[in-house]
């Protein structure tokens, strides 16, 4: 892991933007959360001002926080229904298009995450903008600031349905022509909704509802025990000599 000190960047961000950003540092990475309304001003400043110079757009992507931290199998208590763990659950791999959860409500469900890189200062920053409205998620576009954000925003729109206001050409990019839905949302089934095949009778390619069954073999589990801490301590002990 590269160890580039990030504290000075945090100070500079605090001095310049104050309360507009809520800055956290974890694993030597700087993350700044901000409101959608401030994004354009902050991004322009981050690109242009001598303190920051984030000239390279690395990435824009979406995150759907629906079901964050939820599991399919209790690990704290013993239970009698362990057998079903391999075949039941709520995760996206386990339902079909017809059975997909509807009207799900989760505050701050969608976020757009932007990664920037400063070549001059050799620093990175992550910006996270939560969308106000789940039903119609909107974030201002940064394509006018970094033209390289164009396709990343199109991809995010395609996959999550996040609208980038001010984007010059917000079309789908990765999915099929005429695709319905936003496939990376957590309420979109893993198996998809339609499949394509050539029909010899009609002599053309046709779309049909998927014929495969949803199937996920390993349940989602979160173990809150000290496993990892212990493992980390062991690893640190054992490998210091080597």
């Amino acid at each position: 892991m590269s160890a580039i000190p990030q504290t000075s960047l945090v100070e500079r961000l605090a001095a310049r933007f104050g309360d507009m950003l809520s800055v956290t540092v974890a694993r030597n990475e700087v993350t700044a959360e901000l409101a959608a309304a401030d994004l354009t001003a902050v991004a322009t400043a981050l690109r242009d001002e001598a303190d920051f110079r984030f000239s390279v757009i690395i990435d824009v992507c979406g995150v759907d926080y629906l079901g964050y931290g939820q599991t399919e199998w209790e690990t704290d208590t013993s239970q009698g229904d362990s057998f079903s763990r391999g075949v039941e659950g709520q995760a996206m791999g386990r339902f079909t298009w017809a059975e997909r959860p509807r009207n799900v409500e989760q505050p701050r469900r969608f976020a757009a995450v932007i990664h920037l890189l400063s070549l001059e200062k050799n620093q990175r920053i992550r910006l996270r903008v939560f969308c106000e409205d789940d039903a119609f998620p909107v974030v201002p576009s940064i394509t006018p600031i970094w033209p390289g954000a164009d396709w990343f925003e199109r991809e995010t729109f395609d996959m999550y349905g996040i609208i980038f206001e001010g984007h010059p050409d917000l079309r789908r990019i990765l999915t099929d022509y005429g695709f319905v839905g936003h496939p990376f949302r957590k309420d979109f089934p893993l198996i998809g909704n339609v499949e394509v095949r050539y029909d010899p009778e009609q002599k053309r390619v046709i779309y049909e509802p998927v014929s495969i069954e949803p199937r996920v073999l390993v349940p989602r589990t979160i173990r809150n025990d000290a496993d990892l801490d212990q493992a980390r301590a062991e690893a640190a002990d054992r490998w210091r000599e080597n």
Binding site: S2, R27, V56, M92, V113, H115, G148, L190, V218, R232
Partner: protein, 417 residues
């Protein structure tokens, strides 16, 4: 007088110069491109979503299939992201093995690139030469992982296994016998590292061969010099990385600037272009092959002198050995849990990037503490590069579009994911 109109034409997805499945809708004014609209996604497999439904380790194999000519570099980004979240670090020998294989991968990728780019622009022979060397390096992939391309060799906490002591040999057959067989097995008498030593001694002369075919070739220069010029400011704004950025004269290489694995201990140079055209990017990549060859040499020397473990002995992450599993109940339990459930990764998020042959390949990983990733996003360099296509080829001739697709070094496995 006949009326002349603009027309729209479809380039690909079946065009051989479309490098896979690029569909390019070109609006033409005679031979000149007025607008280029790349349609991508024909190879979209939803890798990122698939990864969300599986334990962490089961997705390493998917990474090979993204940029399928620089397999191990993709694995490296993903594995580094997991290691970063868990706070574990691979043993030093594994770091050197990864460095060596990243560079072998870079040579593999650039060989593929120089061959196919030359083929697109009308030079057949380079392709045949480049594939000869690719074959030799793929044998190394196979020796270490059992697979020629999709290796799944890097694991969180190290690499799958140590380098083999023996290189597999050709057997006598009606096609390979006598002096021919002897020639094929000449390098294969010793270990894999001995084989690689022979290769690295031989390789600079091979690069000279490609260069003698292309560098001063009049036709090659006519097709590439002054074509697709990318000014440094534009390169940054378009999110370009790797050879695309260095070709425009910007000194930026993650291996130097944010060193990972064992790159801090390596001695190598970063070639830079001056004009930012296709020819400069060609020169940059040719020099990168020579530099990679040097790094491989340095790694071989270190790896020969320094035996040691290649995987953390942390049974929450890495499986115990077979012998231990048969005699120790703890080890058996660890093995069972690891393969049926996987391991939990602490909640948090991380962005881990490596200098892949095509540019910065990054993995943004969000975990909520479960045994499966909550969100994986793969930042593919080719995707960012291709998005600048319209702006770059506007005003160029149709044939230059082919030169440009070549110089972008596109592989649709990573563009479409």
């Amino acid at each position: 007088m006949q009326e002349i109109r603009n027309y729209t034409m479809n380039f690909g997805p079946q065009h051989p110069a479309a490098h896979g499945v690029l569909r390019l809708v070109l609006e033409m004014d005679g031979e000149t491109v007025v607008r280029a609209d790349p349609h991508v996604g024909l190879l979209h497999r939803g890798t990122e979503k698939l990864a969300e439904s599986k334990p962490f380790n089961q997705s390493i194999g998917y990474m090979d299939r993204l940029d399928y000519v620089s397999m191990m570099c993709n694995e490296h980004a993903y594995v580094r992201a997991i290691e970063g979240l868990m706070g574990i670090e691979a043993p030093i020998r594994a770091q050197y093995i990864r460095t060596m294989f990243d560079e072998i991968t870079r040579i593999l990728n650039h060989l593929m690139w120089v061959g196919s780019n030359a083929l697109d622009l009308g030079a057949m022979a380079v392709f045949l030469y480049a594939f000869r060397e690719r074959e030799e390096l793929m044998d190394v992939y196979e020796a270490v992982s059992g697979a020629r391309m999709h290796a799944t060799y890097y694991r969180p906490g190290g690499v799958y296994r140590d380098l083999p002591d023996q290189m597999s040999k050709y057997r006598e057959s009606p096609w390979h016998k006598g002096t021919d067989l002897k020639r094929l097995n000449a390098w294969r008498e010793g270990s894999m590292l001995d084989y690689l030593t022979e290769f690295t001694n031989d390789f600079p002369a091979r690069v000279d061969e490609y260069e003698s075919l292309l560098t001063n070739n009049r036709i090659w220069k006519q097709r590439t010099v002054g074509i697709g010029v990318i000014p440094p400011e534009k390169a940054k704004a378009w999110g370009m990385t790797g050879a695309m950025l260095r070709g425009s004269g910007i000194e930026w290489d993650l291996r130097k600037k944010q060193p990972y694995a064992a790159y801090a201990a390596m001695d190598f140079d970063i070639p830079l272009g001056v004009n930012g055209d296709c020819y400069d990017r060609y020169l940059v990549r040719m020099e990168e092959m020579r530099q990679s060859n040097n790094i491989v040499k340095q790694c071989i020397a270190w790896l020969k002198a320094n035996p040691g473990p290649v995987m953390v002995q942390n049974y929450k992450v890495a499986p115990p050995s077979r012998e231990e599993m048969k005699s120790d109940m703890e080890a058996l339990i660890h093995h069972f849990k690891l393969f049926t459930e996987g391991y939990g990764v602490p909640a948090g998020e991380i962005y881990a990037a490596v200098e892949a042959p095509k540019g910065e390949f990054g993995c943004y990983l969000v975990s909520d503490g479960a045994n499966k990733p909550f969100r994986v996003h793969l930042r593919a360099p080719g995707f960012a590069h291709l998005s600048s296509m319209d702006a770059v080829v506007r005003g160029h001739m149709l044939a230059d579009v082919v030169a440009m697709i070549g110089t972008y070094d596109l592989v649709f496995g990573e563009v479409d994911r």
